[in-house]
Amino acid sequence: MSDWVEACGADDIDEEDVMRFDHDGRTFAIYRSPDDEYFATDGLCTHEKVHLADGLVMDDIIECPKHNGRFNYKTGAARGAPVCVNLRTYPVKLDAGKILIQIG
C-alpha cells in the first residue's frame, strides 16, 4: 500500500532549489524546478550517502555537494561521475499549497 505523505509547503522551497525531508527513518530530497514543478528522490547520493539537499540544482540536474556527481532529479538518472547508480524517484502532487510525496 502506498501512502501520500505531506513533505512541506510549496513555498518552503525556492525556485531551482532542493530541500531535505525526513520521514519514518528515511530521508528524501524535494525539488522545485526552474519552471515551478516539484519532484522527489531519495535524499542520499547513491555514491557515498551524502545528503543531496546540500547540493546545487541547475535546470534539471542535482549535483552532490561532496564529489559533484550529477543526477537528473526528474528521472533519477545518473548523469556524471562519480555516480553510476540511478536515484530512486517518487511521485509528487500539490494539494492546497502542500507538497505530498508517494512513498512506496
Binding site: E48, L56, N68
Partner: protein, 369 residues
C-alpha cells in the same frame, strides 16, 4: 603550533591495499563525516552558482598565451631567446594544467558541462594524468583526505622522501610513473591499487585513453627523430618536466607537514595568500581549506567563501615563502620523527571539532621532541 600523537603506530603503510587501509575502514576514518563550517543555505547557493564567463576568459588567456609562447619558443629555437618563451610555455603546459585538470574534473569551472570536459581532457594530457584514473583517485582524495592507506594523492608521505620531492620540481618521478602507468594501461592492465578506486565499467575507458596518448607520444618521438630536432618534444611532453616547478611549489603547500588521519580539513589543509600570477596559474586553489570543505564552490568564488568563513579557519599562511618556512623544517623533523606534524591553531571564534586536537591532553603531546 606543533604536536605528535603518541598512540600512532611508528610506521605508516600508505598502500591502498595495506594494513592502514584496513584499519581506516575499521576505525571509521574511511568515508567519515567531515567538519563543515555553518554557512546559511542562501549564501551557499549564491557561492555555488556556476558561470561560464570567468573560465572562458581565463581559458582564452591561458590557451592564447600557450600558443604565443610556444610559437615564440619554436621561432627562436636554437637561440638563447627561446628560453624565456619556453619558460612561460612550460609553466602554462606543465603547471597551469594541474589546476585546470582539477577544477574541470570537479565540473565547477564552467557551467556548461562539455566545456569542463574539453578543458579536462586537454589538461589531463598535458599534466600526464589519465582522465579516468585521476577522476576516481581525486574522488577518493575528497572522501578520505590525507587518511593513511585511503588517500591515493598524498604528495609527501612520512617519513618524507625529500629526493623525490626535489626531483618532482622537474617532474621527473611523476612523469616517469605517468609514462609507465600509461604504457601498462595501454597494454590493457589495470593495477590492483587502481581497481580499488576505479569502478569496473570505467576501466576500459582508462585503457582506451592510454592507447591514444601512447600513439600521440610515439608520433611526437617519431617526428623528433625524423626531423633530427628536440623541438617537437619541447612542445609536447617535455614541458611536463621543465614547467612542473610551479604546480609542485603550490601543490606541496596544500597539505604538506600537516596532520594525517583527522576528519577536519582545517587541520590537514592549508590556505595560503599568493600573488595574482600564481593564483591565475593555480586557479585559486590556494584557498585549499575552503575548497575541501565546500568542493561545489567554483574557483572564482573561493575568495568570497574565504571571507565568509575565515572566522572558523586557522589564519591563512601569508605567502608561499612563509608556507615553505614552516613546511620544510617540518619535513626535516619528520625524517627523525615521522609522527611529528604542524598543528593548526584555530581562532577563538572557531568551533572545535575534535577536542583532542584543541586541548593538550593525553592524546596530544606538546611537541615531537
Amino acid at each position: 603550533m606543533e604536536a605528535t600523537i603518541s598512540a600512532m603506530p611508528s610506521r605508516r603503510d600508505y598502500s591502498l591495499l595495506g594494513r592502514d587501509a584496513k584499519r581506516a575502514v575499521e576505525t571509521g576514518l574511511a568515508a567519515a563525516e567531515w567538519y563543515h563550517t555553518d554557512v546559511p543555505r542562501k549564501q551557499m547557493k549564491e557561492l555555488m552558482q556556476r558561470s561560464d564567463g570567468p573560465a572562458i576568459r581565463d581559458t582564452i588567456i591561458w590557451l592564447g598565451a600557450l600558443v604565443l609562447s610556444g610559437a615564440g619558443g619554436a621561432w627562436f629555437w636554437g637561440a638563447w631567446w627561446c628560453v624565456p618563451f619556453f619558460f612561460v610555455y612550460g609553466v602554462l603546459y606543465g603547471s597551469s594544467t594541474d589546476s585546470r585538470w582539477h577544477e574541470c574534473g570537479h565540473g565547477t569551472a564552467f557551467r556548461t558541462q562539455w566545456m569542463n570536459d574539453v578543458v579536462y581532457q586537454i589538461a589531463c594530457f598535458m599534466i600526464m594524468r589519465n582522465p579516468v584514473t585521476w577522476r576516481w583517485s581525486h574522488t577518493r582524495h575528497h572522501t578520505d583526505t590525507i587518511i593513511v592507506g585511503r588517500d591515493p594523492e598524498i604528495a609527501v608521505m612520512r617519513p618524507p622522501d625529500l629526493l623525490r620531492v626535489v626531483l618532482n620540481f622537474f617532474g621527473i618521478v611523476d612523469a616517469w610513473h605517468a609514462m609507465t602507468d600509461m604504457v601498462r594501461n595501454a597494454a590493457g592492465i589495470i593495477s590492483p591499487a587502481e581497481k580499488t578506486f576505479i569502478p569496473e565499467p570505467e576501466q576500459p575507458k582508462a585503457i582506451r585513453i592510454a592507447r591514444i596518448w601512447t600513439a600521440i607520444y610515439a608520433a611526437t618521438i617519431a617526428l623528433a627523430l625524423y626531423s633530427g630536432s628536440f623541438l617537437p618534444l619541447m612542445l609536447v611532453g617535455l614541458p611536463r618536466l621543465y614547467g612542473a616547478w610551479h604546480h609542485v611549489m603550490t601543490g606541496l603547500l596544500q597539505h604538506g607537514g600537516l596532520a594525517e588521519n583527522v576528519i577536519d580539513h582545517r587541520l590537514n589543509s592549508r590556505t595560503v595568500h599568493m600573488n595574482p600570477i600564481s593564483r591565475f596559474i593555480y586557479w585559486n586553489m590556494n584557498y585549499h581549506v575552503e575548497h575541501h570543505m565546500f568542493p561545489m564552490v567554483p574557483y572564482h568564488a573561493l575568495p568570497r567563501l574565504h571571507e565568509l568563513i575565515k572566522h572558523d579557519l586557522p589564519a591563512p599562511t601569508p605567502s608561499i615563502l612563509a608556507g615553505y618556512r614552516e613546511m620544510v623544517p617540518a619535513f626535516l623533523r619528520q625524517l627523525r620523527n615521522e609522527d611529528y606534524f604542524l598543528k593548526r591553531e584555530l581562532p577563538p571564534t572557531a568551533k572545535p571539532y575534535r577536542d583532542e586536537f584543541h586541548n593538550d591532553n593525553d592524546a596530544v603531546a606538546a611537541a615531537a621532541e
